[in-house]
């Protein structure tokens, strides 16, 4: 293989893509963009450009991280700075073509910012988040066309792979060990050590598996990386395979990620065509193949032993460790199982050296952490910060804080297996160890922000409901223990809780943590334990006062129309009430018939904001006495 030649061809391709002589339009079409309508925007742009006969190149890129503002379009016109536009609709797309491309109006009203220094508008890098972000894993995401391997190569891709063939397997493993890289899937086990054990296990064959079975509600880091920069993962896998002597690899990706499946498969085919995969990789004696295996949507298959069982054609159920996959994994052979982000980090370490990597992050947790920010936060999307950044920085500075002037209440880290941390924990640095002490886990990187309108008991119930339903059912603790916990939580949010439940919940949670077979069971009680620890008052309010402080639990709230605020002739709430529970009382002031109200919240939304007359009250009994609906006169 002539790598220099491939590189120079890639540069030429890139130049065509990014030269300054022509107008370029980039549309973010990862799943986050598509969900917001990016494909329609792309179609509109292409049609319009053709109609207007404009000479411009349109390309699709992956996720830029600003998922809150999707669909995102970047326009770079010769002579003016590249500008990124957010919340683009098809209508806006037409306007952009007509005004920005045809004329010289940069449409700054749609712009999020520029991508380079200029005199017109600030760049997006002036946003406070960029002070904290350090995009290593996401280095290419949103910048390159994920379907084009040349884009990856130009940005340094496959250079690391080229260099390892001058190294021994041990050298590669040493580099990774020295870098201090720990598994990004949540376990935080030393990647280099895992590879070393696998290599030394001495099986007849060895496997490398990329775990892309991202199942946490609200987490989408792995999807974004696979959709936006698949080659970084593939290169990492090849390096791992070389280090441990594997000939076959699998990307285990959820079937619910169709775009990721397609993108990775395409990337594998390309890499194979160019000689980065397959026989005699890059002219070496090393052979390695990668197959995409689609998971069928079981959360537990993110657990490595269950994932392996699933590839083997069995029901995805975990088994006891030891034996660990590193010694007895797929088909009983030594197997490396690493997360998408771990593999994506590997080429950087090889290229820049272990010391470079270990200079980033904290003493025990090196490198960066990628979070999928979701929930009640302004800038939902992907963020990547060095390990050790505080939660406050991540949520308030990078994430832009809680929207609508609401009060921050908690952040759920690590998905349903993680914990809910309160305001007081926000100064904790994010790394593998600090979070554990606080009762949460680093997890795979899901971060859901909750505000004052979220009921913490309900939040715990929600996450436990998820893990209970996703429990594989194998071990008693997880199958039955979580069910009993869930039932107790259900009773509490229904207003039928008892105080002894709290002790029982704690005891049972500890039993499940200690006694379950796999990590799903061992971590399932975390949301309950952390909410009990930090939001005990909410539990007590539910049980003793039958009150939901967040005014969320339906059984504990009632709707009340404030007579002073009701605009008597408006009738908006009466019209929308599906249960016919609102009637006009004396002087046409609207009244809620509590017996009929189904608490659907529609009236609150319908009541014009200038009146804001409908409120929720908890406990339900706190609603003042109201007049009764007049009996209908019999005809």
């Amino acid at each position: 293989m002539d790598f220099p030649k491939i590189k120079s061809e890639a540069v030429a391709d890139w130049e065509r893509f990014r030269n300054n002589q022509k107008t370029h339009i980039l549309v973010g079409t990862a799943t986050c963009g598509r969900a917001a309508g990016a494909i329609d925007v792309l179609d509109t742009l292409m049609q319009k450009i053709e109609q207007r006969g404009i000479d411009a190149e349109i390309a699709q890129v992956g996720c830029m991280g600003h998922c809150y503002a999707e669909p995102l379009v970047i326009i770079s016109k010769p002579g003016s700075p590249a500008i990124i536009y957010g919340y683009v609709t098809t209508g806006m797309a037409s306007v952009l073509v007509d005004n920005c491309l045809l004329k010289d109006d940069p449409c700054l009203e749609f712009a999020l910012g520029a991508l380079e220094e200029n005199e017109l508008i600030p760049t997006i890098y002036d946003m406070p988040r960029f002070e904290y972000e350090n995009r290593l894993i996401l280095r290419n995401c949103g910048d390159i066309d994920p379907q084009n391997i040349n884009h990856y190569i130009v940005n340094g891709g496959y250079a690391a792979l080229e260099s390892i063939f001058k190294m021994t397997q041990e050298d590669v493993i040493d580099q990774i060990k020295k870098s201090g890289l720990r598994g990004r899937g949540g376990g935080g086990f030393s990647t280099g050590q895992k590879w070393e054990i696998t290599k030394n296990a001495g099986g007849k064959s060895t496997y490398v598996i990329c775990n892309a079975d991202e199942g946490d509600p609200g987490a989408f880091m792995d999807r974004a990386v696979l959709e936006s920069d698949p080659h970084s993962v593939i290169e990492g896998m090849i390096i791992a395979a070389y280090a441990v002597g594997a000939a076959q690899g699998y990307v285990y990706v959820r079937a619910e990620y169709p775009l990721a499946v397609e993108t990775v498969q395409h990337a594998i085919d390309q890499a194979k065509d160019m000689g980065f995969l397959g026989q005699s990789i890059m002219g070496s004696k090393f052979n390695f193949e990668i197959e995409v295996f689609r998971g069928s949507g079981a959360f537990v298959c993110g657990e490595e032993t269950a994932l392996i069982a699933s590839i083997e054609g069995k029901r995805g159920m975990p088994h006891n460790r030891p034996p660990y996959p590193a010694t007895e994994g797929l088909f009983g052979m030594p197997t490396v199982v690493n997360n998408v982000k771990t593999f994506a980090t590997v080429p950087l370490i090889i290229e820049n050296g272990a010391d470079w990597f270990s200079a980033i992050g904290t003493e025990s947790s090196k490198g960066t952490a990628v979070f999928a920010l979701a929930g009640k936060v302004v800038n939902t999307g992907l963020v990547e910060v060095p390990m050790g950044t505080t939660l406050r920085n991540v949520i308030n500075d990078v994430g832009g804080g809680v929207p609508h002037h609401k009060k921050f209440k908690a952040v759920q880290i690590g998905g349903p297996s993680g914990g809910c941390l309160p305001e007081s924990a926000l100064d904790l640095p994010v790394d593998f160890d600090s979070l554990k002490e606080a009762g949460a886990i680093f997890g795979s990187g899901g971060m859901v922000v909750l505000d004052e309108d979220n009921c913490m008991v309900e939040a715990a119930r929600y996450f436990l409901d998820f893990t209970q339903k996703e429990s594989c059912g194998k071990c008693t603790m997880c199958r039955l223990g979580t069910k009993h916990m869930l039932d107790m939580l259900q009773e509490i949010v229904n207003g039928n809780g008892k105080m002894e439940y709290l002790e029982l919940l704690t005891d049972l949670a500890e039993d499940i943590e200690e006694g379950s077979l796999c990590a799903l069971g061992k971590t399932a009680p975390n949301p309950v334990l952390t909410t009990l620890r930090y939001f005990h008052d909410e539990y007590e309010a539910h049980i003793i006062e039958k009150r939901c402080p967040a005014l969320q639990c339906k059984n504990l709230i009632a709707y009340y129309i404030l007579p002073d605020k009701c605009e008597r002739s408006c009738d908006a709430c009466v019209g929308v009430c599906t249960a016919e529970a609102i009637f006009s009382g004396k002087k046409r002031i609207k009244v809620v018939d509590q017996d009929k109200c189904v608490k659907c919240d529609t009236c609150v939304a319908a009541c014009p904001p200038e009146y804001n007359a409908i409120i929720r009250m908890s406990p339900a009994s706190s609603v003042p006495e109201t007049e009764k609906r007049p009996e209908k006169a019999k005809k």
């Binding site: 996703e470 594989c472 071990c475 006694g515």
Partner: protein, 820 residues
């Protein structure tokens, strides 16, 4: 390897590397409770009851799956451990019905025992009602999954031991349960109702349906199953004088923890209401109850009268493969010493003579010379003319385990698709009766392609040149060549064969052809001749000068034999051409039949003696491996019955020549003293086979080839097992498999009633259109719920072995009634 030392409850103990904590603890006599552990199953760590604490780091470990590691400080009884165990049991009990008082599992419930042992007190968890319907459609297994603790023993038994694959985990979370594919009822699944899971279930979730609410067994007796040639070690659970549970023996045996549906139904037969409870005598054309004294006297008088009038050669005895070795020995002595004739043969001839002839003439053994473990450890297995799924279930389990878990290659030689087809690497479907040619072709491939150590073969065997010369007329197809390569290159190869090979004309030659293969490749220790009945191997003896069983029928017709004693056999159903046999037997001046039931043969007897079942006597059976299985008396003989050995002694006494035995052990001792080592030493001899291709003798009137096959839910002549009300309920119809092409030609659809006829008989059956048999062929089970396929066969004897050719015959087929 260095032993690993750990601290166990403060004691230094060591074990082998790879051993689990539980295994070591058991070895050291430390009890750790478990629900999901079973020595025959892969441990999975599901129930968590066996948690122990590693005090070194505070970890709680499931001892059944955690290997011992140097330095561990294990406590099996720490406070934390006890608390956890209690929690687990409480969790289970909180969603378990309160029906212990009426649950059949009763005192044998492991969950209840563990709950008591760990001292579960008040359960603080709210009850979760689990409204599961009790499934009770099939007559064998009843599932009440509200009692399930999901230990997954049933799933593992199904997948790891019997390899049926009928059940697996279903659903997730609290709804997880063991279920069939799509959660259909068991009878719509692959389930064979083998009962292995029933025996393993720690709670009352899976129960034997026939014996529900009969209470708990108070005693257990180990014995040997009588319902096929495998001779499984079973344990009969007793409550008073009733057998209320049948489970696999805990001591292993050939079945090693497994069972089959016939074995689980044995108690139905033993306690059948149809059992004869007293002897009967023919008085004025009618059989009437009689006392033992009168019946024995009448039988003896009959024999004496015939002997006096026509001489001893007018007497004959037919014994059975279902009689014990001791009984068969006694009958031999009775016939020769007391009656004074050599006319004794056993029904075992029908199943066993071919194998005996072929094996004796080549490698000098009497049957299989290796056990099932050897079969399971083979890396290549050939199954030819056998459907062990139906005829020898535990053999099928072993083959499937070998294929699925040990990577063995399976070569299946059978015209039909059988339960083994999906496990086979190569499935060759030869025409009927051409097995010898196929096997000859394989032998030729081995010789031609040099897949043998010719020098050793020449040195260590006889007649290699003769064999080589005989092979020239064979050719081998590509599948046969591939099979020959696999077989010849195996480290350890086995051949399993059954009636599909032996019940054709020249069956012994077909068996010789496969023995030749084994001798060529030095694999003679892997020859497994399957037997049909429980004591085929033990009951068969070469008659000394006397007539063989089927020849006796001819002799009756000729008037040479005038009186007969038939013990444990029902020739009218068991022999071909039922009509002719019945006619012949009714010519006898004195017919004495000893049986548990009033069989077709007993009905025409002059004296009927009511005999006992295998559970009511002592003795031994020799299974197909050559393993001698001990029978132990579980219950006293059912009122009015006596064991056959006792009947024979009484007859001898009444004849005036008492035999010198008081009990069965004295008979065993005499046999042991007489019988030496049965195997012949010396080099193996090749037996060149003079193969004659079967001519297609189907004709216009009888255009179809009928094939008799084995059926899991019936056995032998069906006489005994047909008295299981559960088996009867499950297969009450006669089904005939018809190839799709033939069915469409004759406009026959699934469920239509069809008539099958031969020159000697006819029967009606329900059509089952199938793609698993070749065109031009129809298949029915040998044993039918309403009788036997033997009604269709005439008595054609194999020249060499005098067995009947009851595998195929030409039949006509027509539709009688359309289904709906």
């Amino acid at each position: 390897m260095q032993p690993i030392t750990i601290s166990l409850n403060g004691r230094e103990v060591s074990g082998k590397q790879g051993m689990t904590i539980l295994e070591l603890a058991r070895e050291m006599g430390v009890d750790i409770p478990t629900l999901c552990d079973d020595p025959n199953l892969t441990p999975i760590g599901a129930c968590r009851i066996c948690l122990v604490e590693n005090e070194q780091n505070g970890d709680l470990l499931a001892s059944c799956v955690t290997p011992i590691e140097t330095g561990m400080v294990i406590s099996t009884q720490s406070e934390r451990v006890i608390v956890h165990r209690k929690t687990i049991v409480k969790l289970m009990l909180a969603s378990h019905p309160d029906s212990c008082l009426v649950c059949n599992k009763g005192n044998t419930c492991t969950l209840r025992r563990v709950a008591t042992d760990v001292g579960v007190g008040m359960i603080e968890f709210e009850r979760i009602a689990d409204a599961v319907e009790i499934e009770q459609l099939n007559p064998f297994i009843e599932r009440d999954l509200s009692k399930c603790v999901l230990c997954a023993k049933c799933i593992r038994a199904d997948q790891e031991l019997v390899v049926v694959g009928a059940i697996d985990y279903f659903n997730r979370g609290f709804d997880a349960k063991p279920a069939t594919f799509g959660d259909v009822p068991l009878e719509q699944s692959e389930c064979t109702f083998c009962g292995t899971c029933v025996a393993m279930c720690p709670t009352g979730a899976i129960m034997d349906r026939g014996r529900s609410y009969h209470g708990t067994a108070s005693d257990e007796v180990e014995t040997t199953c009588a319902y096929c040639g495998c001779g499984c070690s079973i344990s009969l659970g007793l409550k008073g004088d009733r057998i209320i549970a049948i489970t696999p023996s805990k001591k292993g045996g050939p079945n090693n923890g497994t069972l089959c549906v016939r074995g689980t139904c044995a108690s139905d037969v033993i306690h059948s209401a149809d059992r004869l409870t007293q002897p009967m005598l023919r008085q004025e054309e009618e059989l009437a109850p009689a006392s033992w004294l009168d019946a024995i006297e009448a039988a003896a008088e009959g024999f004496k009268r015939v002997k006096g009038l026509h001489g001893p050669e007018a007497l004959a005895v037919i014994s059975s493969s279902t009689c014990t070795n001791e009984e068969n020995y006694l009958l031999q002595r009775f016939t020769r010493d007391v009656l004074g004739t050599n006319n004794i043969d056993s029904s075992a001839r029908l199943h066993n003579a071919v194998n005996r002839a072929a094996l004796a003439s080549t490698i000098g053994i009497m049957g299989a010379n290796s056990d099932l473990d050897g079969l399971e450890q083979s890396d290549v297995i050939i199954v030819v003319g056998a459907d062990p799924d139906a005829s020898a279930p535990i053999v099928s389990y072993a083959i499937k385990r070998a294929v699925k878990y040990c990577g063995a290659k399976l070569i299946l030689i059978d015209p039909r698709e059988t339960g083994l087809s999906t496990f086979a690497d190569i499935h060759i479907r030869p025409d009927y009766g051409t097995d010898a040619a196929l096997l000859g072709g394989m032998a030729k491939a081995i010789v031609d392609e040099g897949l043998l150590d010719e020098k050793t073969v020449v040195e260590k065997t006889n007649n290699y040149d003769g064999l080589k010369a005989s092979l020239s007329k064979y050719t081998a197809g590509s599948a046969a060549i591939e099979a020959a390569h696999l077989y010849a290159k195996a480290n350890s190869a086995s051949i399993v064969w059954g009636t599909g090979l032996t019940q054709h004309a020249g069956g012994a030659d077909s068996v010789r052809a496969l023995i030749n293969l084994a001798i060529l490749t030095n694999q003679t220790s892997g020859l497994y001749a399957l037997e049909k009945e429980c004591n085929d191997r033990g009951a068969f003896t070469e008659p000394l000068q006397g007539f063989s069983a089927l020849e006796m029928i001819e002799q009756i017709e000729k008037g040479a034999i005038k009186s007969m004693l038939i013990v444990g056999e029902n020739p009218i159903l068991a022999f071909p051409d039922s009509g002719r046999v019945e006619k012949a037997l009714s010519l006898l001046e004195c017919l004495v039949v000893s049986d548990m039931f009033l069989t077709e043969t007993a009905l025409i007897a002059d004296v009927v003696l009511s005999s006992s079942s295998f559970a009511e006597k002592e003795g031994t059976y020799t299974n197909f491996e050559g393993r001698v299985g001990k029978l132990n008396t579980a219950i006293d003989p059912i009122a009015g019955s006596l064991p056959d050995w006792n009947i024979i002694l009484k007859l001898a006494e009444a004849m005036g020549s008492p035999m010198p035995f008081d009990d069965i052990n004295q008979v065993s001792d005499e046999i042991t003293a007489l019988v030496g080592n049965e195997s012949k030493s010396g080099p193996a001899s090749f037996a060149p086979v003079d193969y004659v291709a079967p001519s297609d003798d189907t004709n216009k009137e009888y255009p179809f080839k009928l094939l008799t096959v084995s059926d899991l839910y019936s056995l032998g002549s069906g006489t005994s097992i047909s008295h299981s009300y559960r088996l009867n309920k499950y297969t009450s119809e006669v089904y005939v498999e018809i190839a799709e092409e033939d069915a469409s030609k004759l406009d026959i659809k699934d469920g239509d009633q069809v008539k099958i006829a031969t020159p000697v008989g006819e029967l009606t059956a329900i059509a089952k259109v199938s793609d698993s048999i070749p065109t031009g062929t129809i298949a029915i089970p040998q044993t039918l719920p309403t009788g036997s396929a033997n009604v269709l066969f005439d008595i054609t004897l194999d020249n060499e072995t005098k067995t009947s050719l009851a595998k195929t015959c030409n039949v006509s087929l027509e539709k009688v009634v359309s289904n709906g």
